[in-house]
C-alpha cells in the first residue's frame, strides 16, 4: 500500500475550511474562557461565602465531568431550557467557554494567590476600589505570571475543539472524517490532520517557552 498525497491536495480547500472553523471555535472559546476564568479565579479566593461557594461548586462540578458530556448537554439540553435550537457552532462555543473557564479560573486563582498580601494592600492603601485593584493590579500581574500555564491550557483547548465532532460541527477533524468516508484514505488523511495539529501546537509551546524565559531573564515578575 502506498501513500497517496493526491487526496490531500484535492481536498485541501475543504479541509482548510474546516481548520478555519476550528480556529474560530478555539478563538471564541479562549477569549470567553479566559475572560470568564479571570472572574472565576476571583470568586475562588473571595472571602464572601455567597460568592465562594457557588463558584467553587461550579468549578468542581464541571471539572469532574468529561468535556464531551458538556458538549452533549449544551447541544441537547440547553435548547430545551432556552426554548430555541442552537446550531452546533454556537453550542460548541458555549460548552467550551463554560468548561475551559473552570481550568483558566484555577490558573488565575493560583496567580492571584501568588501575589503578596502587602502588594494588594499597597493598592488598597491608595484608595483604589476592589474592581480597580483587580483590573489594574491583580489580574495583570496574575496574567503575566501565569502566562506559560495559560498558553499550555490554550493549546489543550485548541486540541479539544476536535471534540465538537460529536455534534456534527464541520471543524477540521470532522471534515477529515468526511473526506475519509468518500475516499477511504484514512492513513493519509488522519496523518495530515495530526501533522497540522502537531505543527500548530508545537509553535504554540515554543511561544510559551519564549515568554517564560523572557520574563524570567528580565526578572519582571
Amino acid at each position: 500500500m502506498s501513500f497517496d498525497y493526491q487526496v490531500i491536495v484535492e481536498y485541501l480547500p475543504f479541509l482548510l475550511g474546516g481548520l478555519v472553523v476550528t480556529f474560530k471555535l478555539a478563538g471564541l472559546a479562549l477569549a470567553g474562557g479566559i475572560s470568564l476564568g479571570m472572574l472565576v479565579g476571583l470568586g475562588r479566593i473571595s472571602d464572601k461565602n455567597w460568592i465562594y461557594y457557588p463558584v467553587s461548586a461550579y468549578v468542581n462540578f464541571l471539572r469532574n465531568i468529561p468535556l464531551i458530556i458538556i458538549i452533549f448537554w449544551v447541544y441537547f439540553i440547553l435548547p430545551i431550557i432556552v426554548g430555541r435550537n442552537l446550531n452546533p457552532f454556537t453550542s460548541a462555543v458555549i460548552a467550551f467557554i463554560i468548561f475551559e473557564a473552570t481550568y483558566f479560573g484555577e490558573i488565575f486563582r493560583a496567580g492571584y494567590q501568588s501575589i503578596s498580601k502587602d502588594m494588594v494592600g499597597s493598592a488598597y492603601a491608595t484608595g483604589l476600589t476592589y474592581w480597580q485593584v483587580a483590573r489594574y493590579v491583580t489580574i495583570p500581574i496574575a496574567f503575566r505570571r501565569m502566562l506559560p500555564s495559560l498558553i499550555t491550557q490554550s493549546i489543550i483547548t485548541f486540541q479539544d475543539t476536535s471534540l465538537a465532532f460529536v455534534i456534527g460541527l464541520h471543524e477540521f477533524v470532522t471534515r477529515g472524517n468526511i473526506v475519509n468516508n468518500l475516499e477511504y484514505r484514512s492513513i493519509e488523511i488522519y496523518s495530515f490532520v495530526a501533522v497540522v495539529f502537531l505543527v500548530l501546537c508545537y509553535v504554540g509551546s515554543r511561544i510559551s517557552l519564549h515568554f517564560e524565559t523572557k520574563y524570567r531573564r528580565a526578572n519582571v515578575l
Binding site: 503578596s116 502587602d118 502588594m119 494592600g121 499597597s122 493598592a123 488598597y124 492603601a125 491608595t126 484608595g127 483604589l128 476600589t129 480597580q132 489594574y136 493590579v137 495583570p140 500581574i141 503575566r144 528580565a218 526578572n219 519582571v220 515578575l221
Partner: protein
C-alpha cells in the same frame, strides 16, 4: 496642642483565638511623628494595618481625621485616600514604570488627566531624589530607589497622614540612609507619620513619641530621651540591649 489626626480608641484584635492587639489607646496629633517599636510579633504592623482598615478588628475604633472606621456610613476606599502607606518590601506594581506606579491612583481614583498626573508624579520623583527613574520598571531599580518610588506613590494622593511599616528593614545598609532622609524631610515638613521602625537615629531626630509594644500591648511610651535613657520595663530594657 494641634488637632487630632488619628485616634485609636481601645482597639482589640484577634486572629482566631490569639489576641494580637489588646486595648490599644493612642492619639496622634497633626504634624506628629510617632515611632512604633518592639520585638517581632508584638503587633506593631498589625496595629498599623488596622489604622487604614487593611486589617479588620473586633473591638474599639479608629478615628482618622474625624471619620470613624467602624461607622456604617464610612467608605473605607475614600478614607484610605487620606492615609498613605509604605511597606517593608516596597510592593511596587512590577508591570508598571515608576511613573505609572505613582499615577495609577490619582488617575483612577481622583480622575486626574494623565498629563496633570504625570506632571505631579515627576515633581514627587524630584522630591524623593530620583527624577531620572520615571520610566524605569521596579525590577531595574535598587531597593532604596524602589522604596522612594513607593513613598512618592503614597504621597501622590496628598494624604493627611503616612504609615510606614518597617520601610528600611529590607534594605542594604547603604540604601537605608537615602530612604530615611526622605522620611526625615517629610516629618520636618509637617507630615503626620506613624512609623514602625527600629532606626533609632531616625527616632531621635524626628519622633515626638516612641511607643514600645510587646505581646499586643503598649508597654511603654515617651520621648526618645525618656525611652532610651530610662526605660521602665524589663522588656523594653531587653529590647534596647538587642537593637543597640
Amino acid at each position: 496642642m494641634s488637632e487630632v489626626m488619628i485616634e485609636i480608641d481601645n482597639l482589640s484584635k484577634w486572629f482566631g483565638d490569639f489576641k494580637a492587639l489588646s486595648n490599644i489607646n493612642e492619639t496622634v496629633r497633626k504634624g506628629q511623628t510617632i515611632v512604633l517599636c518592639g520585638p517581632s510579633g508584638s503587633g506593631k504592623s498589625t496595629l498599623l494595618r488596622c489604622i487604614n482598615g487593611l486589617e479588620p478588628f473586633q473591638e474599639g475604633d479608629v478615628i482618622v481625621d474625624g471619620t470613624s472606621l467602624t461607622a456604617r456610613k464610612t467608605n473605607l476606599n475614600t478614607l484610605r485616600q487620606k492615609i498613605g502607606m509604605v511597606f517593608q518590601r516596597f510592593e511596587l506594581y512590577p508591570h508598571m514604570t515608576a511613573l505609572e506606579n505613582i499615577t495609577l491612583a490619582p488617575r483612577k481614583v481622583r480622575n486626574l488627566p494623565r498629563k496633570e498626573a504625570d506632571e505631579k508624579a515627576k515633581q514627587l520623583l524630584e522630591r524623593v531624589g530620583i527624577p531620572e527613574k520615571a520610566h524605569n520598571y521596579p525590577a531595574s531599580l535598587s531597593g532604596g530607589q524602589q522604596q522612594r518610588v513607593a513613598i512618592a506613590r503614597a504621597l501622590a494622593m496628598e494624604p493627611k497622614a503616612m504609615l510606614f511599616d518597617e520601610p528600611t528593614s529590607a534594605l542594604d545598609p547603604e540604601m537605608i540612609k537615602e530612604v530615611l532622609e526622605v522620611m526625615i524631610n517629610l516629618a520636618k515638613e509637617g507630615m503626620t507619620m506613624v512609623c514602625v521602625t527600629h532606626e533609632m537615629g531616625f527616632a531621635r531626630e524626628v519622633a515626638d513619641e516612641i511607643i514600645f509594644m510587646d505581646e499586643g500591648k503598649i508597654v511603654e511610651r515617651g520621648s526618645y530621651e525618656e525611652f532610651f535613657n530610662n526605660p521602665q520595663s524589663d522588656r523594653a530594657r531587653d529590647f534596647l540591649e538587642h537593637i543597640l
